[in-house]
């Protein structure tokens, strides 16, 4: 009898706990939907203008208190020998690609977070540390981050990277669109330093207009494709280029927002508490089988 009541208590608590977790989980995924304004700020990166001076890399590190070499060292172009990706030591990097039509004018491509309109990382974050801000930035709360790295897996551009070197301080790093600077009405550090304004800061709608105008004015200079206009539901950062984007090592993406796909699967699984219910059905079954077994054991003896 005593045993029975304890079992009942456990049953009730587990069920209620599951219900709570399930409910909060659905709530979390729902919070993954974008909260940004209709016309967020953005940046247009013109890879035909970029000269690969890498001053943006230096300015970015300065703005984010990351150790950096002196600015003169960035003139050294040997950095382009290897293809680089942004990581915790450099939130943005510039890679250089051969220009088949003009040897002396290679294409330099800055890489950083695209700040998607419907960010997959926000959707995937199970603790709600990632958020899309009103001004377009996708930022995260280090205190909330548990280091699960779901955002790394979810990102269609493979941008968030993990700081492995401090095991006890799990931290995801990526470009934050200089959220702290833009709050104070400053320009993002990379935009401010760029000597040729290869990165133009402005309202996303204005940037789209500008990009279309440039393509229209110089059709021989640009491919008729604005990367980020439609990709994964649109991004705050957009690119213009003189050659196909896949040759500049950009992933080929559909126009469907990434969270749409992942959330459909996740929500499908989690609807009506299917996973917890089935898990507990399974465990209950095993328990029931074991109970029957233990009951029958003394009989056989």
């Amino acid at each position: 009898m005593k045993n029975q009541s304890r079992r009942d208590f456990l049953k009730i608590t587990t069920i209620s706990a599951t219900a709570l977790v399930g409910a909060s989980a659905t709530k979390l995924f729902a919070s993954g939907n974008p909260t940004s304004s209709i016309d967020p700020m953005g940046v247009l990166v013109d890879t035909t203008v970029c000269i690969g001076c890498r001053k943006c890399e230096w300015a970015c590190k300065k703005a984010h208190n990351i150790d950096t070499k002196p600015i003169e060292d960035y003139d050294n172009r040997s950095a382009f020998e290897n293809y680089r990706r942004p990581d915790h030591t450099s939130l943005t990097v510039v890679n250089e690609f051969r220009n088949p039509t003009a040897e002396s004018k290679p294409y330099d491509v800055k890489v950083q977070c695209m700040h998607c309109n419907e960010p997959a990382c926000v959707s995937a974050c199970i603790v709600g540390a990632m958020t899309k801000q009103e001004n377009g930035s996708v930022i995260w709360d280090t205190d909330k981050c548990i280091g699960c790295r779901f955002c790394m897996v979810a990102c269609p551009f493979q941008i968030p990277t993990f700081e492995y070197h401090k095991a006890l301080q799990p931290d995801i790093t990526k470009c934050d669109f200089c959220f702290e600077r833009t709050k104070e009405a400053l320009l993002p550090a990379c935009v401010e330093i760029c000597p040729v304004e290869a990165v133009t800061y402005g309202k996303r709608s204005e940037l789209l207009k500008l990009a279309k105008k440039r393509i229209n004015l110089y059709p021989e200079r640009y491919k008729e494709h604005i990367l980020g206009e439609h990709e994964v539901g649109g991004t705050s950062w957009m690119y213009l280029a003189g050659m196909d984007f896949d040759k500049l090592k950009f992933p080929k993406l559909s126009t469907k927002a990434a969270p749409g796909v992942s959330e459909a699967i996740q929500h499908g699984i989690f609807s009506y508490f299917v996973p917890p219910a089935s898990l507990f059905a399974l465990l209950g079954g095993i328990m029931w089988l074991n109970k029957n077994k233990s009951k029958s054991e003394p009989d056989t003896e």
Partner: protein, 367 residues
């Protein structure tokens, strides 16, 4: 009523016509600036950034400002110091590339605009359709400089600031001129053409005699041609490119032997080619001073009056021939001594019976 409205229309057009519309003074095509056939006040359909087509003011590099100190962005905390831009030097050399409009790419009718008149100084701005001033400067400079240096070093134009107040000299810099470009007298080029491997190119002759300008052949070469730090990368001109340069005067499609031969060719010799040896005075002239019809070198007669039809005893300075006429002979008409248009040896027989040139001189020899 009709008459009144007609008068109003005529008067108003008269008023507006006082100032000549820009397309009259600029000799522009409407389509250079407007996208539609009939631009109206409400819908002017003006093209955006027409760039070089609009350059209307052309002046020589000597009239351009000499050196410009670009210190508009100067701040103590800046990483780099301002730049002294050798404007006139760049302007002088620009005729080998795209001309003044390489940089001054937008010029509505009137004086030449400076960069700041179109490009805003602040990066954070409302109108993002044009790059800001700093970007505009850098784009113009780097576009050429990276071509020949193959690197993008800030310090090749800027000095480092190093936290101290800028010590750049704000006084005008001394005039910088490009060192004189040494041109070859003649070049012997080995080609792959079997029927005439050797092309002798008389560079000096083409410039001094044939009167070609540098940019007639050396166009769009910019600084790279001479200043390339990595000459290996400089590809030699393709066959069709070389022929293109010569084809404006030579028939490169049909007459190969005019340039290609099995051995070196001597320079152009007027006497050998035409049978009329040029004398000292004429040999210094460029072809076009006699052969005034462009590209036509036949049809001139060896008679002096063919070209010198305006010369008479009153306006011709005879001393130029080496003989200064004395007072008596100055009164004569040319034909009194130079019978039958023969201007080499005069005949005295018209006035004198037993005197002959050169035993008797009608003046004093100056040479």
């Amino acid at each position: 009523m009709k008459i009144i409205s007609m008068i109003i229309i005529i008067l108003s057009t008269g008023l507006f016509a006082q100032e000549k519309p820009h397309f009259v003074t600029q000799e522009l095509q409407c389509s250079t600036c407007h996208t539609c056939e009939v631009p109206t006040k409400n819908n002017p359909c003006v093209r955006e950034c027409i760039r070089e087509y609009l350059v209307s003011v052309k002046h020589s590099a000597k009239e351009a400002p000499e050196n410009i100190l670009i210190n508009r962005f100067e701040k103590i905390e800046n990483i780099y110091q301002p730049v002294h831009f050798t404007h006139q030097l760049h302007a002088e050399m620009s005729h080998l590339a795209g001309g003044c409009q390489t940089c001054h790419h937008y010029n509505p009718p009137g004086r030449i605009l400076t960069c700041i008149e179109c490009h805003e100084t602040g990066r954070k701005r409302e109108d993002i359709s044009k790059p800001d001033l700093k970007a505009a400067y850098h784009r113009q400079c780097i576009d050429c400089h990276r071509g020949w240096s193959h690197e993008i070093n800030c310090v090749s134009c800027h000095a480092m600031n190093e936290g101290k107040p800028s010590n750049i000299d704000t006084k005008p810099m001394p005039k910088t001129v490009h060192p004189e470009i040494k041109t070859p007298e003649r070049m012997v080029i080995n080609t792959e053409y079997a029927n005439g491997k050797i092309v002798t190119f008389n560079h000096k002759e083409h410039v001094d005699l044939f009167g070609l300008e540098c940019q007639s052949c050396h166009s769009q070469e910019s600084c790279i041609k001479c200043h390339d730090k990595n000459p290996d990368k400089l590809k030699s001109k393709m066959v069709h490119e070389t022929h293109e340069n010569c084809a404006s005067c030579h028939d490169t499609d049909n007459n190969c032997s005019s340039c290609h031969a099995q051995k070196e060719k001597p320079g152009f010799d007027h006497g050998q080619r035409t049978g009329w040896q040029l004398n000292k005075l004429h040999s210094k002239l460029s072809c076009s001073s006699c052969h005034q019809k462009k590209g036509v070198f036949t049809g001139l007669k060896s008679k002096c009056s063919n070209c010198h039809d305006s010369w008479s005893s009153e306006n011709f300075d005879h001393a130029i021939t080496g003989l200064r006429l004395d007072e008596i002979h100055l009164e004569n008409e040319c034909a009194d001594c130079h019978i039958d248009d023969n201007f080499t040896k005069p005949s005295c027989g018209n006035c004198h019976d037993d005197i002959e040139y050169p035993d008797f001189m009608p003046g004093t020899l100056t040479k």
